[in-house]
């Protein structure tokens, strides 16, 4: 009887403690940038990108969905814009990945050839191919909701990972590197 009462009194405390621990974990992970409550899972993951054909830009070749259907090795598609601040932030990381031999194809989102040329001159051009989505309509079909966004495409042409926001060393080593190992 007595233990029962004790359990009954302890129950609300235990619930509050569990809730507190949960909130603490969430806040802690947000602070460490391991959890972003605004991040959305991409419905494209596990699927091929939707059909599209985009022209090239500044003498670089554009590409279409068929060019992504069976890449010889896993690759990245990076949506960016010259007017985008976090794109500048991730530019060195993209350069590093490209130098390490990872194929990266770029898509300029709602931009002009001149502005993109200036941007790539200033911050480096990591892209093997460069497509122009000036209307931003292909981006909508991909479910892109901001730049930069980076998609990992495996050798079967299937999207395995999407990162919304700037790529940095932590994101690459925690998220991208293990996936590259798995799909190469």
């Amino acid at each position: 009887m007595d233990t029962r009462r004790r359990i009954l009194f302890a129950a609300p405390l235990a619930v509050a403690a569990a809730g507190g621990a949960g909130f603490y974990t969430i806040l802690r992970r947000m602070q460490d940038e391991k959890y972003d409550p605004h991040a959305l899972p991409s419905p494209l993951i596990g699927h091929r990108p939707p059909a599209f054909t985009l022209p090239g830009m500044n003498n670089q070749q554009g590409f279409s969905s068929t060019d992504l259907s069976a890449p010889p090795r896993p690759m990245l598609v990076n949506w960016f814009a010259s007017w985008c601040v976090p794109c500048v932030e991730e530019a060195p990381m993209l350069g590093q990945l490209a130098k390490a031999g990872l194929p990266i194809w770029g898509i300029a989102y709602q931009d002009t050839p001149q502005a993109v040329a200036n941007y790539l001159n200033q911050y480096g051009n990591p892209f093997q191919r460069l497509a122009n989505d000036s209307s931003g309509l292909t981006a909508i079909n991909w479910g892109v909701y901001g730049v930069p966004e980076t998609y990992l495409i495996d050798r079967q042409g299937i999207v395995r990972w999407r990162w919304a926001g700037a790529l940095d060393q932590d994101v690459v080593s925690d998220n991208l590197a293990p996936l590259l190992d798995r799909y190469s």
Partner: protein, 148 residues
Amino acid sequence: MKRLLILLALLPGIALAQMVTRDGVTLSASQEQRAEAIGAQLRCLVCQNESIEESSAGLAKQLRIIIRQQVVAGDNSKSIINYMVQRYGIFVLLKPPFSKLTLLLYASPFLALLIGFLAAWNARRNRVVAAAPLTAAEAARLNKLLER
């Protein structure tokens, strides 16, 4: 007869007066109403607590245009909403749909009520019942024990 003809001639004008242009798409007032009802259910992904209708973000404007074009093309509201869900996932819906993923969310008020009922029932069952008064024989026996 002449008046009727004049009225008939004016009809297209009246219809045209009811056309509205929003974000560069021209559509009838009732079509605009339907487009607004659709947009109000969809989350703007740039500023996540606003609907596509309220948001001033560039992407929201583009999506408003797409919704209006599809409304003018005669697509039904459900297929327009599906178009958005296909691209952005169920998070684009401001009201989460009832599914396996959201089952716990929708069941939580009922679960809380159930837990409350169980607690109340448990408390009732454990209530201490007041002791009945002693019978004459019991009182006599108690006195005898206390005297000893």
